[in-house]
Symmetry: C2
Subunit: 138 residues, 2 copies
C-alpha cells in the first residue's frame, strides 16, 4: 500500500508534468452517461453540424479532468487534495483529438503545504484549448 | 433532432436550476478509470484512512461535472458552450454521498449571448462542498 504524501517532500517551483489523452466518441459517450451531461453538442453529429463548431466537441470538464489526473498521479502526485481550479475554455476539442495537459508549479507555501500550479491543455496541432490555475494541498 | 439554442430565448437573471447525484464507489471507480486519475485518496480505503479525511473522497472534478450537466441539460440547456468555470473545493464529498448542484443566472450579455451563473454544490447535510462561477455562450 502506498503511503499518503503528507509530510513528504514538496515539489519545487518550475517542476512540470504532462500527460496526453485521446478523446474518442466512445469515451465522450461514457463520460456523458456517467456524469449525466447529455448536451447534444457533444453527442449528436446532426445537432452539432448546426452549432457554431460544426461537429461534436468534447465536454470541457472532461478535458479539465486531465488536469486532475496529472495532479493526482504525477505532480504533486498521490495524496494531494484539490483546493481550487480556474478554467478558461479557449478552443474546442473535437472527438478523436489527442490533448496534452501540462501542470507546472508556480508557488509553494511550505508551512501550509499548499502548491499552486499553472495548468493548460493543448491539442496535437498546438492550439491551447484550456488554461487556468490549480491549488492543491499536499 | 433538437435544434441548437443559438438565436433562441436567453435565460434571465435569477433563473435557477438544481440537480442531484449520488457518488457510489462504482461511479468513482468508473470516473477514475475513464479519466485516468488513480489518486488513491479516491479509491483506496486503507490509504485514505491515513490521509486527512480518513476515508475515500470523490474526485473534485467529478463533483464539478455535475455543474456541467446542469448547464448543458437544464440552464441555459442544450447547445450552450462552456467558456469558463472557477472552482473552490470547500469540503470533501465522501463515497455514497448525494450532492445537489445549483446554477443561478447572475448576468446576461444579450448582444454576445454570454451568460454568467453562480454555481455551487452541497451535500445532503447542507454543507457546501464547491462554489464558483460559470460563463457560457448560448
Amino acid at each position: 500500500m502506498a503511503e499518503p504524501s503528507e509530510g513528504g517532500a514538496l515539489p519545487t517551483v518550475g517542476q512540470r508534468a504532462t500527460r496526453s489523452y485521446t478523446f474518442t466518441a466512445e469515451s465522450v459517450a461514457q463520460f456523458a452517461a456517467l456524469v449525466g451531461d447529455g448536451n447534444p453538442i457533444h453527442l449528436d453529429a446532426a445537432y452539432a453540424a448546426q452549432a457554431p463548431f460544426g461537429r461534436p466537441i468534447v465536454h470541457g470538464i472532461f478535458v479539465a479532468s486531465l488536469l486532475s489526473a496529472a495532479l493526482g498521479e504525477q505532480l504533486p502526485g498521490p495524496g494531494c487534495i484539490y483546493l481550487g481550479q480556474t478554467l478558461r475554455f479557449e478552443a474546442p476539442v473535437y472527438v478523436d483529438e489527442t490533448v496534452t495537459a501540462s501542470v507546472e508549479v508556480s508557488a509553494v507555501r511550505a508551512e501550509k503545504r499548499i502548491v499552486t500550479l499553472r495548468t493548460e491543455c493543448a491539442r496535437a496541432d498546438g492550439v491551447r484549448v484550456l488554461s487556468g490555475e490549480a491549488v492543491v494541498k499536499c
